[in-house]
Amino acid sequence: MMNEFLMISFYGTAIALILIGLYATLAKKNLLKIVIGLSIADSGLNLLFMAIGYVKDGTAPIFSAEVVGKNVVMVDPVPQALVLTAIVIGFAVTAVALSLVMRLYRHHNTAAIDEIKNLKW
């Protein structure tokens, strides 16, 4: 019962985060808010991946003296490793995005996306 509730809230939060992030990216006009939206969507995706790797009643996937030789259920370690990578990548993309926002702001003196249109959008 508790477990099911946990799973539903995991998936629910993940999907909610993804939707909030995508909404912010598509609907907001402020460059910073767009970058924040991308970041939120990324976090949602990472959480979704963690939820998929969860095994009922599993413990941390570490081979220590307490678990060796015993019949212990562990969660899937692969998504955790991948999410770690994905977080780093997301960090790098956000850093590049923010530096671009800064340069755009200095150049145009505004962060509103519809006022920056030297190029056709």
């Binding site: 990216t25 767009i34 991308l38 990324d42 995706l45 990548i89 755009l104």
Partner: protein, 496 residues
């Protein structure tokens, strides 16, 4: 040193991060090191390609001692190896072109330029060589991040705006691809591409469709598929000229590779082929018509590039062996020819502020060599004999004729006429107008001339003797279509 595919990734990546350090020793090393690295990669390409072709195998490299399907592995198959070799050699030629990049203006930017360029090339080579779907995503991101930064390289242009647009669209692409990988992992429980391909028949067909569509959209953005290609023209216009050549020659090709590897090897779903073909036809028709209306040279080249990618998608969408052969041939031709056009075009509009085609009036007399190469590239890309572009277009038309796709043939021919019109309009201005503009002319440096000449010679030689390369492409096409061989080769590695 033992030659192995892992050097394709390890050496340029290490070199990229050591470049600033070498710069402390000697400013000239910053320019020389990338060239040495790319020359070495071209050398190992020749050795490995020779080995793969002569022994009729594929080289599967296990990384860190974990054999597939547990660890990450690199697959140097005829198809991925062909592309990796193409990227290394093209990279070397483009490096030669950039050797004197910004030398007279400023030196501080050179380091950044070469670090990012090496990362970009590493990323594209990684995408084609890796045998692990998540690893492919990582390389895609390496490519993307360096591509965003290079687009914003010039502060005085609108590079940051183009880069932000690219970043926004590119982030959507990687979001979709990562979501697809997550869902795929939840279904098959593995990330190894050969293992995924093997377990794919057990996946629920509904889920399969969803995942394939996510991949299709994600890689479609990278491969400039309509209507997901809004980023491309601005990026090509704003990025430095040689980087435009790398985008057209490598980054987009890597996107196409991801798309077809997923469709042909991982999913092997034939229902998607008509969709691929329709998207290709739309991409081609729309972008070539838009190209006709462009007043700026690089925007025109960018739309022409999108159009060619559409033609590649059409050929892959036909799906027969002949069509796949023609598609890979076109990928090769387009990489070489469009690079030549971007490299020579950059010099034609070097000092022009607006980069307008109308600034080219009569430039053929002032810049005879560069104009001649640009003209040669234009004739080649529209598919006139005896240049390389002719053969790929002919093979695509023949492949379409084999399966009685008369409408597709008609559209390809109609679009070719449009292509001829807008390229010849530029040539007309270059050669048959009087020069009235007072814009200064930039004479290409010696190394740039050599690099463009090499590309031109390749175009002519392949045009006259297509058999020089058709054997390799034939094997590449067989490799892409033979899913079982790929699965067996990868999964049997290290089984003793």
């Amino acid at each position: 040193m033992v030659i192995s595919p892992v050097q394709y990734i390890a050496i340029p990546l290490i070199a990229a991060f050591l470049i600033p350090l070498f710069g402390k020793l000697n400013k000239e090393l910053v320019r020389i090191i990338p060239g040495l690295v790319l020359l070495y990669l071209s050398y190992i390409s020749v050795v490995l390609m020779n080995q793969v072709i002569s022994q009729n195998t594929m080289i599967v490299e296990i990384i860190a001692g974990w054999r597939p399907p547990w660890g990450i592995n690199l697959v140097f198959s005829p198809f991925s190896g062909f592309l990796a070799s193409l990227f290394s050699m093209l990279g070397f030629i483009i490096w030669m072109y950039t050797y004197n990049f910004k030398r007279e203006v400023e030196d501080a930017q050179t380091e950044k330029f070469y670090v990012l360029m090496m990362m970009l090339i590493t990323g594209t080579i990684g995408i084609v060589l890796t045998g692990d779907i998540f690893n492919m995503f990582v390389f895609l991101e390496i490519t993307a991040i360096s591509a965003y930064s290079l687009t914003a390289f010039y502060r005085e242009r609108d590079g940051a705006e183009a880069a932000f647009k690219y970043l926004l669209v590119g982030s959507f692409a990687s979001f979709f691809i990562l979501l697809a990988i997550v869902l795929l992992y939840s279904q098959v429980g593995t990330l190894n591409m050969a293992d995924i391909a093997q377990k794919m028949p057990d996946v629920n067909p509904y889920m399969k469709g969803v995942i394939l569509m996510l991949f299709f959209v994600g890689f479609g953005i990278e491969a400039e598929m309509f209507p997901l290609n809004g980023w491309a023209p601005d990026v090509y216009t704003q990025a430095p000229g040689p980087i435009g050549a790398i985008f057209a020659g490598m980054v987009v090709k890597a996107g196409i590779y991801g798309l077809v590897r997923v469709i042909f090897t991982l999913f092997d779903v034939h229902e998607i082929f008509p969709l691929l073909m329709i998207m290709g036809v739309i991409t081609m028709a729309v972008s070539e018509v838009i190209a006709l209306r462009q007043g700026k040279l690089k925007r025109m080249l960018a739309y022409s590039s999108i159009g060619q990618m559409g033609l590649v998608l059409v050929a892959f969408g036909i799906g027969t062996h002949e069509a796949v052969f023609a598609a890979i041939f076109l990928m090769f031709n387009h990489a070489v020819i469009k690079s030549l056009l971007f490299l020579s075009g950059t010099y034609l509009v070097y000092h022009s502020k607006e980069k307008n085609i109308s600034d080219l009036d009569g430039i053929g007399k002032s810049l005879p060599f560069t104009s001649f190469l640009f003209a040669l590239g234009s004739l080649a890309i529209v598919g006139l004999p005896p240049f390389a572009g002719f053969w790929s277009k002919l093979y695509i038309l023949m492949a379409a004729a084999d399966v009685r796709l008369i409408a597709v043939i008609a559209i390809i021919l109609a679009v070719s006429v449009v292509e001829i019109v807008y390229y010849f309009r530029v040539l007309h201005r270059i050669y048959f107008r009087e020069r009235i503009s007072t814009i200064e002319i930039k004479i290409p440096s010696f190394n740039a001339k050599i690099s463009m000449l090499i590309l031109a010679i390749v175009i002519i030689v392949i045009g006259v003797y297509p058999d020089l390369i058709s054997g390799l492409i034939e094997r590449a096409a067989t490799d892409l279509l033979d899913k079982q061989h790929y699965i067996q080769s990868v999964l049997s590695v290290g089984l003793h």
